[in-house]
Subunit: 149 residues, 2 copies
């Protein structure tokens, strides 16, 4: 196990990871009835928001619209960034040129030509980062929407 | 994008992945109030059950006990096995020698000496596996607890 990183290092690593080209995010949501859902999708990090593009009819989209909340996992399981996020807005993929361009520039696909896809713009409220057990302490980097470091 | 695998190949790959040494699983659960939770933990695949060890006081444990259901993601995001599972039983880590030995043989840690940890034995009801978009068709390998291949 390597030495635990300090919090400024973890924040820098976190921001770098969230902005990685063609990176995916695990998106956990829940239905009204409390049924958990989970799926990996492409991530874009735009203006301190996590942006995903999913079909409007998908389970993830329906859960997000109903509950307005998701928990995101990015990175391999032993170098994770966990983000609790709330739904800020949904945007039709063809409706916002700047958002569409930013998404397509980071992700390795461009949903703007895909019928039925919607951008979900998710605002982080809590961000945590850890690699192994020795980094559980100090893992919270953002709380209540504010960076602690 | 490589050629889509047939279902027998996906099942064989899936069983091999679930039995991989020191592999982690993303565990998505939800609270009674429908708040999603997600965390990566070590996985053991024992007798066609997914077994995890978590602290009894953790969010994941509380959600599993209350709701009895989880959705699991294993593997990198572009070679995933997704498992919808129900809670079959919880077992104190020191209470079942065979289970404890099987868990410790696959995972890279042994929770049997850790106070407060509990095994959650999760029974798969749906299993899906895909790598990229061309494998979305044919991704369901188990439905209603029965392998389709």
């Amino acid at each position: 196990m390597s030495e635990a990183r300090d919090q400024p290092t973890r924040k820098a690593d976190t921001l770098r990871m969230l902005a990685t080209q063609a990176i995916d995010v695990w998106v956990a949501t829940a239905s009204d009835a409390g049924v958990p859902y989970l799926v990996p999708v492409s991530l874009a990090w735009v203006g301190e928001r996590a942006v995903i593009a999913v079909e409007r009819s998908s389970v993830t989209a329906r859960n997000l619209i109903a509950a307005g909340a998701a928990r995101l996992g990015v990175g391999p399981t032993r170098d994770v960034v966990m983000v609790d996020a709330v739904l800020e807005k949904t945007v039709d993929v063809a409706a916002d040129d700047a958002l569409g361009a930013a998404y397509a520039a980071q992700a390795d696909w461009d949903p703007r030509g895909s019928t039925g896809y919607v951008f979900f713009v998710l605002r982080p409220v809590r961000v945590q980062a850890w690699r192994e057990a020795n980094e559980m302490a100090g893992r919270t980097l953002m709380r209540d929407g504010r960076w602690l470091v």
